[in-house]
Amino acid sequence: MYFSKGVLDQSKQLRKKWEDNIRKIANKTPDQKARWSTVSDLEIKRLYTPEEIKNTNFESDIGYPGEFPFLRGNQPTGYRGKYWTFRMFAGMGSAADTNKRWHMLINSGQTGLSTAFDYPTLMGYDTDDPKARGECGKCGVAIDTLEDFLQLMDGIPMDQVTTSMTINPPASVLWAMYCAVAELRGIPLAKIGGTIQNDMLKEFIAQKTFMCPPEPSVKLIGDTVEFGTRHVPMWNTISISGYHIREAGATAVQELAFTLRDGMEYVESVIAQKGLDVDDFAPRLSFFFNSHIDFFEEICKLRAARRIWAKVMRDRYQAKNPRSMWMRFHTQTAGCSLTAQQPYNNVVRTALEALAAVLGGTQSLHTNSLDEVLCLPSDHAVEIALRTQQIIAEETGAANTMDPLAGSYFVESLTNEIEEKAWEYIHKIDEMGGMIDAIEKGFPQMEIADAAYQFQRQIDAGEKIMVGMNKYVTDDEQKIPLLDIDDAVEQDQIKRLNAVRRKRNHRAVTKSLKDLKMCCKKGDNVMPFCIEAVKNYASVQEICDVYRDVYGEYRDPGLY
């Protein structure tokens, strides 16, 4: 028990008096609204007291940082040894354009790189495919072959900086390019570090960049986990992501539950397919969460995430290594919380969301730029966003002590409540036969669609407020400079691609693609074949066409 009987009895007595007072006051000045709830519509009480957490056990539920259940953090030292990584998601236009932005960010004190690819790259198409028309470089960097990737990495010290790549269906291909560049520079694979997102389950659930059906998609992920475990030990081979689930309209509880259940699916699949021991690979599984605008809900969600994952790894999968029980995660502030109206207010929103991520103990953070609701971030806007993190780290004192909100009646109670509700979803998905079955039934997709629709209705009815959008609206529009990606980038990129196609060794390309196809058919690990193919300048689409050919294509069922 967290409190002595004496404290609980006192609290109970005092509560009665307080409640009597409330009744008197409420007659004269009633509450502004009948129901107070989080942005996810979780009802919040007027007051939290020792009674709300009377069943909490200090040792097993809260404990110390660096100790099971890791509620208070994975590391015993907190941010004193190292701040979270300032990692701004960046990519636009050509590889050269993005490389320039990366150098600007590094010069501004960014400590890790994060790559945004354009849609053709994300979906495994070359820039000149008819399906790719109009998309080149628009929402990220265009990569067709190793030539582009070499330009992207120009002047980037790959043995010193870690790079995250938001890439999913073609994750093996882009990671192969990263490995190939390292090899060409004489850097051993054991020395490079970074992350590939490589989380297909959340693509079917929310982000909708998919290529092959769920089962072969999960097989390809297993290949990367196995290859990383054996050859690239500092690489995070999956970033199990709730971010996109939340952006698609999920509640905090749904984000947490679906993400962690996805993680369990990957653990089970790697153990079953690759015969690896859980402790061989689980320490390199990483996570990625959203930090939305509801301050305490987000902090509690992140704390609950650590505790659930520790329990899952220890009790479900019998992990022995504490590192397997660590929930290590990147956080991004919520794009969907920003408003196109009065865009400068977005700086404030992002700062609060970033602070919540830090108080929740994130290991890495991207802060959105004020203009991201309108276009890709401009240089000026991205600098303010990066400075926001640096102000939190260096000025506010938020990093002085670990998990500073622990022990708050409200924070502990809400952490417990979010965990309980997440378990309900996890058990429900277990009963459906796991996440792949749940996705095939459309379960998480429809839960999210319901939540998104309900939220939009609450916004339209003024029950939920977004300042500048449905309250405190002004006619005076704030104009901000927008970054525009020139349509000419597409033609230039097609020229580059054609030049590569002319000069590469055709026989070597054909042979490496044939070998890859054979490997896919036999069910072997694709990674060595992928690295060989990209070194021969096979394009992203040529390799992905092999996958599509062998494994088939997935089509959006269009649920709403």
């Binding site: 849609y119 053709p120 994300l122 979906m123 198409y125 008819p130 399906k131 790719a132 028309r133 109009g134 998309e135 628009k138 929402c139 693509e203 982000q207 909708k208 960049t209 952006e247 698609a248 309209g249 969907c336 408003t339 196109a340 109206q341 609701v373 309108l374 276009c375 890709l376 669609a449 998104a452 629709y453 939009q456 209705r457 339209d460 959008m469 927008l482 525009d484 990606i485 349509d487 089509r555 959006d556 069922p557 269009g558 649920l559 709403y560």
Partner: protein, 133 residues
């Protein structure tokens, strides 16, 4: 004989996967009493034009958040025209910078709705501007 309902196709052209707005809108149109077809993500302009004609819709609502609207939206209108189906009204939404509105209107897009638009306002626009065939 009952009055024919307005038939709407909500479509996601291009490779963009941001479908929250499209799905919310599809449901909103359905709740408003329209007949709704939702294509799902990753449709080519050709696929959208062909299905719009086959499904005999009165309105196509395009949603794009990837920045590719300057090619994709006008292309859908152009294809409908080529197939002599210019009576199908086409509207668009998503992350569309204001500087692109004029070229989109000029290409034949009848209305553009961006973040912050109220669902009821979009429904009202449809009622006022689209006649069921």
């Amino acid at each position: 004989m009952t009055e024919r309902k307005i038939r709407i196709m909500v479509a996601k052209p291009g490779l963009d996967g941001h479908d929250r707005g499209a799905r919310v809108l599809a449901r909103c149109f359905r709740d408003a009493g329209f007949e709704v077809i939702y294509t799902g993500c990753h449709q080519t302009p050709e696929q959208i034009a062909v299905s719009a004609i086959q499904e005999d819709v009165d309105l196509v609502g395009l949603s794009c958040l990837s920045g590719a609207h300057r090619y994709l939206f006008p292309r859908v209108v152009e294809l409908l025209k080529e197939k002599e189906a210019e009576d199908i009204c086409v509207i668009g939404g998503g992350i569309i910078p204001e500087q692109d509105f004029e070229m989109l209107y000029h290409s034949g897009i009848k209305a553009i709705f961006t973040p912050g638009a109220h669902l009821d306002d979009i429904v009202d626009w449809v009622r006022q501007n689209v006649e069921p065939k």
